[in-house]
Assembly symmetry: C3
Homo-oligomer: 201 residues x 3
């Protein structure tokens, strides 16, 4: 198990927590929380694998994801008060998750011979589609369509990764730099409340 695997598990866990929190907000039951956590955690990778034809999808070949998600639900339910206080820590981990999923998704797309343009999009999709599915299941307009611009952070990070890769930068350094970059952009966006202009009907 290397550092990327650990980061991937961490991302899965934190994404699952975000599913549990929405389930609680919508007064769902425990089982609903498990489904929402599952969809949030593996949804993005699932969409990526389906579009690529990389089936059976990745998570279904490793039971660790299941145990991670169930643990996240248990934790989210029993320690909900503490988790609320860890809001900032969760935000950082969630951003790291976005970064890891973006890079991993982009690399998988490239290994399937997909063009750079779509590899960037599939990277961002891997990171964000789980949240979209979570919001659709909870009957909400997906947050990503409104004003949270975390997908932009993913796309910017993916572009930076490609740029540094062309300069010949080592894969490991590149990945670390890109993830830090994504976390940074997202933090700035939230801190200064930066948003894209809204369309008018």
């Amino acid at each position: 198990m290397n550092i990327y695997q650990i980061l991937d598990f961490l991302g899965t866990f934190v994404f699952a927590i975000s599913g549990v929190r929405l389930a609680a907000q919508k007064n769902m039951d425990i089982f609903g929380a498990v489904i929402l956590a599952f969809a949030t955690a593996v949804g993005g990778g699932t969409i990526r694998d389906l579009l690529l034809g990389a089936t059976p999808v990745a998570w279904i070949q490793n039971p660790v994801y299941l145990y991670l998600i169930v643990s996240a639900v248990a934790l989210g339910i029993f320690f909900d008060r503490y988790i609320f206080e860890l809001k900032k820590t969760l935000f950082i981990f969630d951003s790291i998750g976005l970064g890891v999923f973006t890079i991993a998704g982009m690399q998988k797309a490239l290994s399937f011979g997909i063009s750079y343009e779509y590899a960037v999009i599939l990277g961002a999709t891997s990171a964000t589609a789980g949240g979209i599915i979570r919001d659709i299941l909870a009957n909400e307009v997906p947050m990503i369509l409104q004003k949270e611009i975390y997908a932009t952070a993913c796309i910017a990070g993916a572009l930076l990764y490609l740029l540094l890769d062309f300069t010949g930068l080592n894969f490991h350094y590149n990945t670390i730099i890109t993830i830090i970059f994504i976390v940074l952009i997202r933090t700035l966006v939230v801190k200064y409340n930066i948003a894209f202009p809204t369309l008018k009907p």
Copy 2:
């Protein structure tokens, strides 16, 4: 055509009826009813096949499903009054459908070399994802996320099946016992209004 095929067709038909009923509740037109019936009836098997990479998906290779679903819509529209009175019968058939789809889904997953944990989940997914898609199309929070615990019945049945399989029980007996078990659990749950605890925001 064996007994499992007949049960599978029965499940498809009853699931389609549940799609028609929701379409009527939401004042959709006939075409909307067909789409909702179709999604409910084949949605679960479609998700299972996509995750496994078992494509073209199963139903698309057998036009019988199409004719069954269209018949269910016709029946649901012209005999809506009678069907309402058959509420209990429909509930039993619907539960049998859940059982059949769970076992068939689990077996297909196992035949693709999927682990026991995920085979159980894919079994339950085969049985319940159609209803989730139906509810999303109708712009409702999926019933399964709230308080109907039929997915739990499917998971319990899938676990029982595996247990009995380990003891060396004959496949046919095992399938029958598991389906009866799922119907029983679901009936008890509805009769005594058993529900998981709801989360608080």
Copy 3:
């Protein structure tokens, strides 16, 4: 690049515009408009390819779709006033898009050995599923389930195509006749406000 390719690009562009317009109605931001445009334009073909197992899905192998969709979003945002005035032109192009996607989808299904019944359905799905995904993302009950009967136009067109194909009509003439037929039916339906009867709960 032949005439069918051009029609396909035209359809993609006009479908993307319909995504932008819904995004504007729902006060989404620019990024939300891109996602909605993307989903509308490539959603139908994606569902078709996933069901068939034709992966990686078609659009992901051609960056032109991405550039078309992004251009459509830019146009939709900067020239929204003019586009509103082009309502009738857009309607015609949108109907041509439905026709092109239906025929192309049906042909792809047939080339995968799918039966005529399901080839017709996959044709209609190619043309309409993008709009369904668009509406689900925007948290609306899909228009197609309510009273817009454009899917019926697609199915009627697909059946006409098969009929003419059996008579031995040349592929090119057949495609043109079918597309004109679909545009015509849809125009009549909208003009005379024809709708299927609505179901009662």
